[in-house]
């Protein structure tokens, strides 16, 4: 993941379930969507995206 703010490579430091994003038909193992959370090491940018299956 590249930081959209400064272009540095971001660190994937956490996976977090977002229950509010769960919709009927989604993969139900976690009863929510697993978000990968990324931190930019150069600027305070935080980005998340659904876990890549």
């Amino acid at each position: 993941m590249i930081c959209p703010e400064c272009g540095a490579g971001m660190n994937h430091h956490a996976d977090k379930v977002e229950y509010a994003l769960f919709e009927e038909g989604d993969e139900a193992d976690f009863e929510g969507t697993v978000l990968q959370v990324y931190q930019c090491p150069q600027c305070p940018m935080v980005v998340s995206r659904p876990e890549q299956k």
Partner: protein, 190 residues
């Protein structure tokens, strides 16, 4: 690790008129500002725009989200209302998620009685954990808040400064460690 100053905003967690917690928030924020290599500001949830009938991305106040993304740690100043936390604070906190993950949080409980918001702190811990925040083991406990400040908002009991300095020391340590982790230590969940 990046060398920008730590950013530790203080969130004033009530919108009520006549709130004594505002004195507490200003007192704590002043102590944070004295610390070298730490930046802070007071975030008053009364000034945020989070619609009461929506949630998640749609409900976000963009300025608040940016502050939370920038934050390395958060200080919550929370009054105890009937042993619980203000619903408005919960609604504001719920409007973000990724912005909080692996960040430190410390709580300053405020109460009219003797227990210094101990019950609201205990009630808030599981909420903060689910938001991805990391709680510290020092708290601020502001008891008998109606008698704790003079009319100008100056604290009358000098012992609070010493205790809050300890609280801030732990929060800063945890914030530094977690920033290093967010920036340098990759998830091992796969």
């Amino acid at each position: 690790m990046s060398n920008r100053p730590l950013y530790l905003p203080v969130i004033l967690g009530t919108t009520r008129q006549g709130r004594s917690s505002e004195h507490v928030a200003r007192f704590v924020q002043e102590l944070v500002e004295r610390r070298a290599d730490v930046e802070s500001e007071l975030i008053d949830i009364r000034e945020l725009s989070v619609p009461p009938d929506d949630e998640g991305e749609e409900a976000k106040d963009p300025v608040f989200s940016k502050q939370m993304a920038r934050a390395d740690g958060i200080i919550l100043v929370v009054p105890e209302y009937n042993h619980g936390y203000p619903g408005t604070l919960k609604h504001v906190l719920d409007s973000n998620l990724k912005e909080y993950v692996h960040k430190a949080v410390g709580i300053c409980g405020v109460s009219a009685g003797r227990f210094g918001g101990a019950r609201v702190i205990e009630n808030l811990l599981p909420v903060l954990r689910e938001l991805g925040l990391v709680t510290i083991f020092w708290d601020g406990n502001f008891s008998s808040v109606g008698k704790l400040f003079d009319a100008e908002g100056k604290i009358l009991d000098p012992s609070y400064e010493k205790r809050i300095e300890k609280f801030l020391g732990e929060l800063i340590w945890m914030s530094r460690v977690l920033r290093y982790g967010r920036e340098q230590v990759t998830s091992v969940s796969d």
